[in-house]
């Protein structure tokens, strides 16, 4: 078990470090890094001065060391536009995103398990076909389009829900629904297929031969095994959820990391973009370790390796 966890953590850490290195060098390789930090119409003098002040005229390796040193102090650069440390701004935005993502994942997983399990119980049946098409549609729908169509119907026409912003329960409904569509659609399919193989397994036959009720067979014997692949996929989908969060936050005006990042890209505020990436990569690193821990807890075969 320790070996499994150690190997997985090293892999995750490797990915984290690799990404940091990649972002740093990519930023330097694209030519003049001042382009990334300064507005496109900045004068040549300003550029030179800026480059010198931030050491862009020094060798790349030297820059990288000071970059790593700063980062280890939690210094991820300073937003010129907002006149504040980038890290502070990103950390402020993070809880909003985490709340949105957390609520979305909980709802998506819970719904997907129930629907996927029921679909797998009678493969080819009416429920299976309907849920199959619905989940595919969920996974295929462009989230930004669903978001603005939702606004059009529920906010503009019916005036039931607010168009955007943060607030009480009504403000959460549309962002969560839109954000949950994709992970929900994909998870239903994963739950269904892993339940199908679990239900066809010999241990399910044993359970039935023991006279265990069908509900226990599905929701205890089969589901508990199906959980192993569900957890793996749910972990990947949580990472993918950041993609959706960028769009949903932008459309619904949620002050999270996704919106912050897109705004910064449009305003060409590189320190914030960079800090968002670093912190997101770190969050994903932690998430991966958490997933591995859950996996170990769920699968005794790994635990006793």
């Amino acid at each position: 078990m320790t070996r499994f966890l150690a190997r997985r953590s090293v892999h995750s850490a490797f990915a984290l470090v690799g990404l940091i290195v990649a972002v740093f060098f990519l930023a330097r390789l694209t030519g003049d890094p001042t382009n990334l930090f300064l507005p496109l119409d900045a004068s040549l003098e300003t550029r030179k001065e800026f480059a010198h002040k931030h050491g862009f005229d020094r060798p790349a390796i030297e820059q990288f060391w000071s970059f790593v040193k700063d980062m280890s102090h939690g210094d991820l650069g300073y937003s010129l536009r907002k006149q504040r440390p980038a890290m502070e701004l990103v950390l402020e935005a993070y809880p909003t995103t985490l709340k949105l993502a957390g609520a979305t994942m909980v709802i998506a997983i819970a719904l997907a398990i129930v629907i996927g399990a029921l679909a797998a119980y009678r493969p080819g049946g009416v429920f299976d076909r309907i849920s199959g098409i619905a989940s595919l549609a969920g996974a295929s729908a462009p989230d930004f389009w669903v978001a603005i169509t939702g606004i059009l119907i529920f906010s503009v026409s019916l005036r039931w829900l607010p168009t955007s912003g943060v607030g009480g329960f009504p403000y959460w409904i549309m962002p969560i629904t839109v954000l949950a569509l994709r992970p929900f659609g994909l998870l239903v399919q994963v739950v269904r297929s892993s339940m199908l193989s679990a239900l066809a397994s010999a241990y399910v036959k044993t359970a039935r031969a023991k006279g265990v009720s069908e509900r226990t067979v599905i929701f205890v014997h089969a589901l508990r095994n199906a959980c192993l692949s569900i957890v793996t996929v749910a972990g990947d989908l949580t990472v993918g959820l950041i993609n959706g969060a960028v769009i949903v936050e932008t459309v619904f005006g949620w002050p999270g990391v996704g919106k912050l990042m897109i705004d910064s890209v449009i305003q060409r505020d590189f320190p914030i973009v960079q800090a968002s990436i670093m912190l997101t990569a770190t969050a994903i690193f932690l998430l991966n370790i958490a997933i591995d821990l859950i996996y170990v807890a769920l699968d005794p075969r790994i635990r006793h390796q």
């Binding site: 010999a202 075969r301 006793h304």
Partner: protein, 331 residues
């Protein structure tokens, strides 16, 4: 056991098909046999002869589709099993009829402890106290000969050896003292030395509980050692049945005869059974007439076109062969 006691289980003219759009596999084509209380019946056959499918059908474990029960009846204690509502039948599974599967590693749930899986049997059949169920599980582990049962109950299936896992399976099957135990190739996946131990255990438990047993196997030796009655299956049909002593001593079906003839090879230190000439039939397109005719040295023109009748060659002896009488009389 008296031969005239009412049968505990009766399978009559059972037909099972596996349908996919392109082809239908006729896995079982009219199998029939019966088991009386307390006796051991063996179903003997090659892989693909339909013996395991028949066992699954009795327990109603077939996945339909692709499996379809195309005809016949299964009666357990006089009740029509196939006509019974499924959940009503499930409640009797484990309590009155139980099954031991071939591959215990696959048949035990990998993510639950062995103790939990045995205790589940008691919980499913009315034991409300989890503690009591667990305690009874430990008792059972001891009863099937697993050392240190208190600690072993907390282990997972993958932590057991093959023989010990099969003991766990058996513990689960006998937990509620069923009237009938179906053992589907219970020793095939095990080492030869362990095989004998498991068979001994099964026989001891059978005597203790007084249950009947259906032993599904391809091993003539096991049949000769353990069973009272035998049904020989070929191509989804029971081609011969009768008392083990009689059938193995004086077969009435060419297939049984061929099986017996291929056994002495083993004692001549040949590593494997010499297969019977030809190969088992393709059950998607079974041979016409008697399914065994392409491999049968007694075959005549009649065998190719006409399904053989059930021929009673002696009291309690039935064989499905046009030439049963001449085979029986040493033809």
């Amino acid at each position: 056991m008296p031969d005239n006691a009412a049968p505990l289980l009766e399978v009559a003219d059972l037909k099972i098909e596996f349908r996919s759009g392109r082809e239908t596999v006729y896995a079982v084509n009219g199998a029939g046999f019966s088991v009386r209380p307390g006796e051991t019946a063996a179903i003997l056959g090659e892989s693909g002869s339909g013996k395991s499918v028949t066992a699954s059908a009795i327990m109603r474990l077939l996945q339909c589709p692709p499996a379809f029960i195309a005809g016949g009846a299964i009666r357990f204690k006089g009740d029509d099993v196939l006509a019974m509502p499924l959940n009503q039948w499930r409640r009797r599974c484990g309590r009155e009829i139980a099954m031991v599967f071939q591959d215990a590693l696959a048949a035990l749930n990998p993510v639950f402890t062995v103790g939990w899986q045995i205790a589940e049997l008691f919980r499913a059949h009315g034991e409300r106290s989890g503690k009591k169920a667990e305690a009874r599980a430990v008792e059972l582990l001891a009863r099937v000969g697993i050392p240190d049962p208190v600690n072993r109950a907390r282990d997972y299936p993958h932590q057991f050896s093959g023989g010990m896992r099969q003991r766990v399976m058996i513990a689960m099957a006998i937990a509620l003292g069923p009237d009938l135990l179906i053992a589907d190739e219970p020793t095939t996946a095990l080492d030869v030395t362990v095989q004998a131990q498991i068979m001994d255990l099964l026989q001891d438990l059978q005597k203790e509980i007084g249950m009947a047993m259906i032993l599904i196997t391809h091993d003539l030796g096991v049949v000769a050692d353990v069973a009272d009655h035998v049904a020989v299956m070929y191509a989804g049909r029971v081609v011969e049945r009768g008392k083990v002593r009689d059938v193995l001593g004086k077969p009435a079906h060419p297939y049984t005869l061929a099986l017996l003839e291929s056994v002495p090879q083993l004692q001549q230190n040949s590593q494997s059974l010499r297969p019977i000439v030809g190969s088992p039939p393709d059950m998607a397109a079974p041979p016409s007439g008697c399914a065994f005719h392409p491999r049968c040295r007694f075959a005549t023109g009649e065998c190719k076109v006409k399904l053989p009748p059930k021929v009673a060659v002696a009291p309690g002896r039935v064989a499905e062969c046009h030439h049963a009488k001449s085979v029986f009389n040493g033809g």
